[in-house]
Subunit: 467 residues, 2 copies
Amino acid sequence: MSFLRDIKLLLGNESVITGYQMQKFLIDWRKRYKGSALAVVLPRTSNDIAALVNLCIFYNVPIVPQGGNTGLCGGAIPDNSGNAIVLSTIKMNSIINIDEINNSITVEAGCVLKKVQDAALDCNKIFPLSLASEGSCTIGGNLATNAGGTQVLRYGNIRDLTLGIEFVNAEGTIVNALRCLRKDNSGYSLRDLYIGSEGTLGIITAATLKLFPKPLGKKVFLVSVYSLEQAVSLFSYSRSFFCSKITAFELMSGLCIELVQKLINLPKNFINKAPWYLLIEISHDNNEHEIIDSISSFLEKSIEKRLILDAIVSNSSKQNEEMWLLRESIPIAERELGKAIKHDISVPISNISSFVEQTNNLVQAVFPGVKHIIFGHIGDGNLHYNIAKASWQSEYQLLSLQNDIYDLVHKMVADFGGSISAEHGIGVLKVGELTKYKSIAELSMMRLIKRAIDPNNIMNPGKILDV
Amino acid sequence: MSFLRDIKLLLGNESVITGYQMQKFLIDWRKRYKGSALAVVLPRTSNDIAALVNLCIFYNVPIVPQGGNTGLCGGAIPDNSGNAIVLSTIKMNSIINIDEINNSITVEAGCVLKKVQDAALDCNKIFPLSLASEGSCTIGGNLATNAGGTQVLRYGNIRDLTLGIEFVNAEGTIVNALRCLRKDNSGYSLRDLYIGSEGTLGIITAATLKLFPKPLGKKVFLVSVYSLEQAVSLFSYSRSFFCSKITAFELMSGLCIELVQKLINLPKNFINKAPWYLLIEISHDNNEHEIIDSISSFLEKSIEKRLILDAIVSNSSKQNEEMWLLRESIPIAERELGKAIKHDISVPISNISSFVEQTNNLVQAVFPGVKHIIFGHIGDGNLHYNIAKASWQSEYQLLSLQNDIYDLVHKMVADFGGSISAEHGIGVLKVGELTKYKSIAELSMMRLIKRAIDPNNIMNPGKILDV
């Protein structure tokens, strides 16, 4: 086939994978999405990608960009037609430059997040984006889905952490907007249009990211609370007490902790069974005894104000890690209950408590006995609101209800002023849902933009929008 | 004329200004841009604006949105054709809602920045956007130009401070994306496309903005340094010393201070004549003596490291204000030297020193004797690099060199990886310059977007892009 021959001529045989060796690129890590492709192409440079896009325009071949293949909505997996190529950025994994004075780092799109974090630490700074898949997800994928994670409360999503990007647009032109500038008001922000566009407007090839001073120390503590209302009040109180020192405020339901303790040992003196737990992380520049005093004083006052049931404070960085492990083990621990129906949603923080109460009640009324696995980032109003099968149900029975459960939960999310995709994106999973909950005006403007920028619809077609 | 009759029918006579009373809307505050218009229209609601846009589409009348009319690039002033209307948002100045738990405030576009800051303070929080015109500029204008100001170092531009916006698009549809969400990855970020688009894609009508905890205290100190290289090194050192506590790091040249002291009294014990001064602000949650100790220790070490010449530390909030007054008086004080040729530029922080040295030399070689008025936000790499007339020149002689001086300075900015508009936007002033320094690919994509979203070219035509 002349298309494949032309790619090989362009990029070399070793950059083109076909046949059975494509498999790992054609299925996502949760094995929820499987597709096929003409080839998987592994470009080494932005020039390679520009040439490839030109070729794809000529042959009218769609391109599905893929980073670490850690997405949760199928955005990096091709459809079943076998007409597309997968463009994997795994060979573009260099750190291009660190500018310590400018507090910025420039990296290729295929660079794994952990590598960027480590490079920052090597010069005593931090790149604060942090999420469960950080050991394998790539910066390009993080940008394509505007990744969030656990430090958003203090540092923002990757959108807020990005100074500039380079991308290849749908015409096959390299657009170098790799600016290291903190202020640049010279026209429309193409950077922000591409961030979160999930490869549907072109391929992000490199980025310049912000680095931050490394806090002197971190302290983690766990508290238990009766109710989500208490959890939200505690969040407000802790913001006024610790101000910007709070870098995480994570929620875990009692059920999450029950499941996790089947996998790992709970910290010593772990609090008695409670309906809800919070992991709170303070990043500070104080000395050790000052911050311990400050946390003790905060906890005493919180008990006086009847905001918490109990608390334990980490006394070492090792114990910090143990506490984080609790939170990070939830996605694996919940598999114990079988495949769950997952919702990655956000609501205004002030609505969290009533949203969960009313949605739980409604879910139980319509689907009695199913289990609620609820955890997430209170400080961002972002909940992972997952539903596992009732004890009398089979996994199949639950999964066959997926669309009905989506309908119910997403309708409630909309009623409470929320978003049906807080941090995972739309991919293919939520294309239909988006048309229900995004306004007609917004969808129509998104389509105008997609058609103007990618008139041939070769950039990740069928993702986000069914154009 | 039937267009005017129809507007009056739609919005009421009292919402339409014609004739001589339009004057103050047709000229900017610096009296650099003057235009004419069919009418100035003062809508009260988003519905008014949507109806107005529909009418303007029907009659093919361009719309020039205007907030507080404090812009520096002529973006809110119509051209001389007299074909357009000015849409002033001054009657849309309500605070719609404050959600203290969600740390957000929702306001109409015509709300003056100071009013938003005050509303935040009333609930013991802050809205950190801060700039010289805060007493008269509006949130809508701030968003349209992605306003920066003095607190960007810690809190970011208004883009970073915005959760959601409502706008009326160029089809006359209200797009309500007034989300109060900190995480929302559901498709292209129309919010970020409209922020910084200077009214060329539609009219921003309301916004939901982030509020932050109010720091317990602020301390300002002034230091003098020999060179910009020292200033940048001091910035790096202070970031590692104070981490996120630094909320401003402002540069003033010796000449700026000389000019300012003709207007106001300098603080007592003000440092001797030096080539450069820095105003550093620390926002902290410590008690008074702790922060004084910390600043003293920082200054001692800075002297040891030969990073500073001298320093004075404010000892009261009154003295904080006096120190800020120095910095804020520069734009007025520089008028002493006549109308200047102003550059609002940014470069990577690591390039500030060599950029200024080389550009100063080049400017003196080509335009001998002109004066350099340099101040700005070191922490953002954002300099106000202004050129005033030589002692032997008339104001007219200098202004006639404007294009040559722009060429020289902007060429240097481009060579140092910078932006020709850091925080003021493009307006009409820099439309030509933008075509020289933005890549063809970026300009072409900006035009694609403008044409797709505003096919009739009725939204602030001629601003940013000459479509």
